[in-house]
Structure formats: structure tokens, C-alpha cells
């Protein structure tokens, strides 16, 4: 029995965007829609300034709000992963509204909910997810039931009741102000004037 879990080390991330471009290419995702994003945040005052990164995608919550919200039974847990059954999804967007970070979108062309599923089609054939495979910093890992969970890995929560199964190391809490609960990831996070600590 597989029980997959993703571990993301934000301290290792180099902000290169390879994971999300590989992801979009893997699924042919439309422009403006992202299963995964790398958020940027500049902190500090000149001349002591730092840049932080946060790769973020569906956290496969243990008690997933999206699964509860779906009245069509299109979302379910398989091998630790929250999967979308396209044959049952009608694109109503209830799951989008339920997610506190915006990790689901409804593809306007296929009218299906789409989200990170740890590339389960790759795990099935013994391959790593597209993002894991390409990451130059090895900042993203998928572990299974027998693997130890790093002690410093924590769930990145944007709502009190969030139960993230995917765990982050070194994620800056200030990144949360870039997220919009109930709305899919915004490509506007890529605009450089959203990098600063205080968003104007």
C-alpha cells in the first residue's frame, strides 16, 4: 500500500521556476492556470535584504476541504493523494472555493478541476513527479509510508482547519498574504512588484 507524501524544502529552493514550467508542459496547462507556483518574497531594508522562495501546490490535506465540498464525488484519496475523477467532475468550482491556498483550478477548456496529484501517473511507473525530477536543488521529494518525515517539516496552513499532508521546511509565513483563499493561484504573483514584503 502506497502512502505518498510530498516534502518541500523552501530553504533549498533556488527560485528557478523549472518545477512549474515542467508541470505545465506535463499537463498542457492553460496560460493563467497553475498546479504549482514558486512565490517570491523580498524581506529586509537596504542594504540588508534577502529573497525567499516558496514552491506551493496542493497539500493533499488529510481532512481535505475540497473532498468534502464536492457534491459529485469527483474527489477522493488514493495512495495518500487527492485525485480528481474527470468522469465525475462537472467543473462547478466548489472545490476551488473550498481550498484555503488556491491549489485547484477549473480548466476552462476541458471544464475539469485540475490540481497537483504528485504526478501519480509517473509514480505508478516508478518515475518521479515532473517537478521532483527536474529540481536542480532537490528541494522537492516524495516519500512513502516507510520513509521518515524530517523533524523540521511542517504543514503550511492558511486556515485554522487546514490539515496539510504535504510538509514544508523553512516556509516564510509572510507568503500567506500572497494567497487568496477560495480562488485559484494568481499569475499576478509573478509580477515583480508583488515581491516585496509589504504589498502596496
Amino acid at each position: 500500500m502506497n502512502d505518498y507524501r510530498m516534502i518541500i524544502d523552501a530553504e533549498q529552493c533556488v527560485g528557478c521556476h523549472a518545477c512549474e514550467v515542467a508541470c505545465k508542459q506535463e499537463f498542457g496547462a492553460p496560460l493563467g492556470y497553475f498546479r504549482t507556483m514558486t512565490l517570491y518574497l523580498d524581506t529586509g531594508t537596504y542594504p540588508k535584504v534577502k529573497r525567499e522562495f516558496l514552491p506551493l501546490m496542493c497539500r493533499q490535506c488529510e481532512s481535505a476541504e475540497c473532498i468534502s465540498a464536492c457534491t459529485k464525488g469527483a474527489l477522493s484519496r488514493v495512495n495518500g493523494i487527492v485525485e480528481v475523477d474527470e468522469s465525475k467532475c462537472d467543473g462547478c468550482g466548489d472545490c476551488v472555493s473550498a481550498c484555503s491556498i488556491g491549489a485547484i483550478y477549473v480548466n476552462p477548456f476541458s471544464n475539469n478541476a485540475e490540481k497537483c496529484n504528485l504526478c501519480s501517473h509517473r509514480l505508478e511507473v516508478g518515475m518521479q513527479p515532473a517537478c521532483v525530477e527536474t529540481c536542480v536543488a532537490d528541494a522537492i521529494k516524495v516519500i512513502n509510508s516507510d520513509d521518515a518525515i524530517p523533524a523540521n517539516a511542517k504543514g503550511f496552513k492558511n486556515a485554522k482547519n487546514d490539515t496539510p499532508r504535504t510538509l514544508h521546511i523553512g516556509a516564510n509565513e509572510l507568503m500567506k498574504q500572497k494567497l487568496r483563499a477560495g480562488k485559484s493561484f494568481s499569475p499576478l504573483n509573478y509580477e515583480i512588484n508583488t515581491w516585496a514584503e509589504k504589498i502596496l
Partner: protein, 848 residues
Amino acid sequence: MNRRDFIKTGAISIASLQLGDIISLIPTAQADELKNISNFQTLNTLAKNIKGIEKIPSVCLNCSSVCGMNVLVKDGEILGVAGNPNDPNAQGKLCAKAHGGVSAVNNPERIVYPLKRVGKRGEGLWKRITMEEAYDTIAQKIKKNLDAGTPEQVVFHQGRNKMGDITGRFMDAIGSPVILNHRGLCSSNKRAANYTTIGDTSWETLDASECKYLLNFGSNFFETHQGGLPLLKRFVEGKRKGLKLVTFDTRLSNTAGRSDEWFAPFPSSEGIIALAMANVIIEKKLYDKKFIDEWCNISLDEIIAFVKPYTPKYASEVSGLSEEDIRRVAIEFASVAPACAAFTNRGSQAHQNGLNNDRSVIILNALVGSIGKKGGYAFGGSKSKSHKSFPMPSPIPPKPKFTTDLEDPRLYPLSNKWQKMRVSHLAFDKLKNSGQKIDVYMSYTISAPQTWPEGPTMTVDVLKDESIVPFHACSDVVYSEMAHYADIILPDATYFERYTIEGRNAYELIPYFALRQPAVEPPYDCENFADTLIKVGQRLGSDVSQYFAFDSYEEFIKLRFSTLPKREGLSGFEYMKKYGVWVEDKEKNYESYDKILSKKQLEGSFVKDDIIYIKKKDKDKAIGIMKDSIARKGLKTPSRKFEIYSSTIENTAKSLGIKDDGMPHFEMPKSLKEIKEDELVLTTFKWNVHTQARTTPQKYLTEIVHDNPVWINTATAKKLNIQNGDAMEITSYRPKSGFRASNNDEIVGTMVVQAYVTEGIHPQVIAISNSLGMNFGGRIAKGTNGKKDNIPAFIKEDDLELDGNIWWDKKYGGAGNGYNPNHIIPINPAPLVGMQAWNDTICKIRKV
């Protein structure tokens, strides 16, 4: 609309898009009439085809790092890429550009048929022709010059070409030495610094995974840098073992932002910081006396005298850094020697004093003895792609025995000294103002109208003028900034559809090479430009065609691999097709200079003043140095030692009547030295998802970066009452020394651009990225939704996304496609080498 309003509006429009409104933006008529290549319901994705996908080993070329990749193919369609684990440099990893490059293949705005201009040059009116007509037209034009005995009036202008074996052969065969490139815009000061100190003509190859301390003067290897991804991979490994990174950069790049310490020095002061660190290392006796005694070409006493004037106090005054930081960092660096390295890139070298800045930095490695050491400033070890390793098919055309000022400008005598580096940013000025005559201009992988300093003005003026450029043939993948000014456009193959013998400085320090091979055939009339040249060559009469007695570039590559030994029972070519990469069975190339020369290597040699020479073509060629009566390889400098003093520089300067004692020195460029209170320094930079010019048509990359407001420090902005998103006008001036210095009051240009107010930049610096603000290149590059341009080189099919999903379109309240700053950046070649001083531009700004 200001930037804040834009974000609000943009957020609303995006929010509504997510509810499916975007569908209504796509005219249904179009969806019904055309077979759309991206209709999503039927999209052939990698995810649906991962089982049993075909992997074709090849090499990426979406930047110059040339990482090994496996192209993932199903039923003749490229669905994605993955790193090739056999590639010793990238070791199975790829960056965003590599993945984003896939969309170049099926780009609906790709040029797939050859075109002939029918309107005025630059008017954009075209007729589709056959490839035969294209070959004949180009051949006829060149033949005229051959018959008239003026082959040098046929010019080839290349960018990231990578097929110099065939393009060079073509130019040699027709007898023209005039090959222009882009090196002077890129790295020629850096290369000149390595050449004159360590005698290596490539880049250094930092042994980052074993390194403990990196002093980074102006490299943004997290995002760009030649071999950036291979270096980054090793940096991450080193970091896990405690490697400390200190970055000097005027702007908070991703590299600076993730460094243990970031210092923003005043532009051009990198050299004085390095020299002051040398002073501290000497003062604190943290130098490697053995290395200095054995391998430096001046004595310790001479070094002590040399660094004396460069005090931390002096460096602090010029750079704005504190004396304490300069001292502390120098001591930290030297304390972990030899597992430490100080290195450079455009931040330090793209200045008028860039050559000396970079030499000063490299010297730090010599003082602490990290040159060529494990964890240090390693270099060499690359496999040459030259004739020696991969012989050219016979007969081989002789090289032209003359040169012209267009390709070898006499005012910059170091530019072509060790390799053809050239100063091609002067070429268009020379054509316009110095009476240099040309008849045929062939351009390939170069985007001078966009990427050249004064490109949108000077370059475009010249390219449009048929009296200056009578005939222009351009091979390109998309309808580019360059193709727009051509007379014939040839539909190029993408790098997924062609061959190249590849390789880069070997980050494992073990020689290797790689093969780029077609994963699919070029579609429609598309053809590798190498094959086009072969066909043109075959039409130029027997004097030329004798050198092109092969069917294709594939056959040419096979012939070049013919001397490779068999591996696994496969011929060299077959082995390379199967694995994509060949790694030599050798040790890591540490301390190459200390290697003892074998008896065989010493055959026929003689010693003069401890330098070992052999006779080659009646010339004395240095091959080594006697050290304690043992013949060693040494460094490839005139003294076979690490050269702090450079006779090459002293003599080259003398040839121009310039007095230079051959020692590195610090001299602030005049414009920066005399900067006034109301003036700022304009610098440029590159992103991690773009190269200089060729990635903007690729949708997944341009989606991430499509706009480039000007970075300005919070305090500076406050003084000028500029807020984030405000429009500001930049006015730039010519430099006070160097090219056109007598016109230093002349305005080069003005531009109005939005401000990005940030803590991450030096208060006297503003920074704008290159790569953006395209006029051509398709809807993604231009940031405009709509129908395809009516150019008869395109396929009928379209990508539905490009008529509705370009969310950064200004029409939707998006940020737009950015600005090209190059019309306000003056042509500014640095002394001796001619490197473009990108980061020396003086400007004034005001809120508008």
C-alpha cells in the same frame, strides 16, 4: 493606470477568467473552422503518454549552458523534455527554459516556409517562395562577389550559432574573413582576464561542490551564467556541506538574494574591492607563499609593493562598502584556502574598467593558492570541438589570409587576439559612418535590432537602408526582430530537429562532449541552416562546391566522428546517438599546470629561460616550464606561470600608444567618477526564464516574465516622489571616455517606463532587464491576444490560447510585454578588448 490599480483590475479579470469567461473570448467560428493544435480536450500531453514514451538523448539550446536532455517523443510529436542523467554537467537536471523551449516546435507562429520580401525593406510584406528559389537567390548574390574578387563583402553574422564547423567552413570556402558575432556584448572582458592571467580561453570552472567560500563579483549564476545550471547544482551540494556565498552586485538578483551576504558596491568598483582584499590577505600573511613563489610571475616582494596603495579605506571610499566588511570577508575567504574561489561575470566585467576588475578578482585566487585546486578556482578539462579531436572532412578550405576592420577593429587589438571575439556592436556604426562596404549580409541566431546597444535606432537604420545593406538573408524559427529586416527569410529547424557537436566547460573537470540530434524531422520546409549553407555552397561553382561534397549536415557530423574509437561495439556516431554524451576516461583535471610532461610530449623540444618550446610551422610554441629541473606543463600564458603582470596587455596597449605597465590597476570610468548628484547609473540584467532575445515567443516562460519595470531604490524614489508603478522618464547620455566621448553631453535616448520601487538595489543605480519589449515574434512575445499576423510563412492551425488567454495583454489591464531599453544604451566598447560597458550608462530620471 498606475501599477496598484493594475493589480486590482488584473486580479479581478483573472478571478473572472477562472470562472470560465475566457471561453467567450475565443470566437467560436475560429474554433470550428480550424484544426486547432491546442484544443485541450484532445491535447496530447506528456501525462497521458508517459508509459513507454520514447527518450531521445540530445542537448538543450534554449541558453548557452547546453545541458544534456532527453527529448520525450510519442508518435513523432515532442511532448516534453527531461534531464539526461548521463550528461556529466547537468546530471539529469534542467531549468525552466529547457522545459519552456518545447513550445517552440509547435508554435503556430513559427516560420515554416521560405519568404521573399515584396514591399520595402522592413515593411513586412512577403511572398512565399520555394527553398530552391531561396538557395539560388542567395547563391547568385554571393557568386557576384566571388566573381568580382570581393568575398569580404559577404558577411556572416551569428549569435549562439554552435555550428561554427560548417558556417566557418562556408566562409573559408568563399574566402571571406568577415564573421560577426555577439561576444563583445557578452563576456569578452571576462575571457580576456582569464586569458591574460591563467591562459585559459574559456570560462573558469568553479569546483563548487568541494568549495567552502565563494566570492561572487557580479555573477547571477542562480539565473543565468554560462554553465549556470551545472554550477548551481554543484553550489547546492557545496552549500549542504557548509559553503558560504558572498555576492557583490548592485542589484538583488536571485543569487544575491540567496547569498549568505549581499553587498551592493557602487558600479565599477569591484576591482578596487578585490585589490583591497588582496592588500588585507598580504597584510595578514594569509597568502600561499609556496604557490606565489612557484607559480606567480612576480615575486612576493613585488606583490607586497603592488597591493600597498589599495587600502580597505580607499576601496571603502570608492565602493561604499565598509572597511570592516572588506577586511572581514577577505580574511574569511583566505582562511579556508585553497577550497575557496573568487569569480566574476557581467556585473564586474561589463564596464570600461572590466578587464582590470576581473583580473583583480582572479588574482585573489592566486594569492591564496586556490588556482586549479580541489574546491577552488578550477579551469580547463573541456574537450575541444576543434579539428584536432573531430577532424574536418577533406578537402578543407584554407582560411582567408587577410582581415578587415569590420571584423578585426584595430582600435581594440585584444579583441581577436586569442579567439575571434570581435567588437560587433561597432559593426553597424562602421557600416554607416566609416565607408565599410558590404553586399551580402547573412544573419543567423542573432537579434541585433533588439539586443544591440542602440539596436532599435542605429542597427535598425542600417538594416533598413538598402544602400548600406544591399541584400540580407536571415534564417530564423520565428518572425523575429531580425527577420523583419531581411530580403529572404529561411525557415530554420529548432534545436530539437538538428545535429550539433556540443560541449561546455566540464564541471566534473573531466573532458566530455555531447551530441544534439533531431528528435523529430523539421516540419514543412523547415531546414537546419547548416543544410541550407551546404546547398548554397554546392551552387557556387567548383572552387567552393568541392568543400561541400556531402549530402547533409548529418553526413558531415558522421565524418567528424569517424575517428572516435568503438564503444560497446558501436561506432562513435551510433554510440552518440544512443547516449548523447561521451565522457573521457580521465582523472579530474586539478592543478593541470603541475603535470609533468612525458618523454613523448618533450620530443624535439628545447629550453630557453626555463620555458620549454617545440617548433611548429617554423614558430616556437611554448609547451611547458622547467621547475626544479623537472619539465612541467605550466599555465598557458607567455611565462607559463600565473600572470599578475601581463606582457600581453603591456604590449597590446603600447601598440595603441597607451601607457600600461601590465599590472592590474583600478581606474573608475570617467563618467562614473564624475557622476553628479542628479545622475544615476543605468544597468541591465537577465531573468531565470529568459535569454537575451530568443525565448519570448515561448508561452510558459513569457507567462512568468513578460514585463520589466525599472528597479529603483526606495530612498531614491522617495526623494523624487516616485511610487511603485509610477511612470518615470529616463534620459541617458554618452560616456565621458571612450567611443564618442567628445559628445558626452549628447542624449542617447529617453524612455518612459514604470518604476519598481525596491529595497533590493543600490541607491545610485537603476536596473532594467533585457529580453523584453518585442515588436515581433508573435502574440506571446508581443503580449497581444488576437488572430495571427497575415504572414505567408505560417501554418493554418492555431493555438486557441493565443486568442484569449494571454492574460498579461494590456487590453485586459495586464502589464503588457515590457520595454526594450537598448535605444537609450550607448555603444560603449571598453578599452583594448571592446567589451560593451553595459553597466556604465549615466542617466537622469524624473516622474512623468
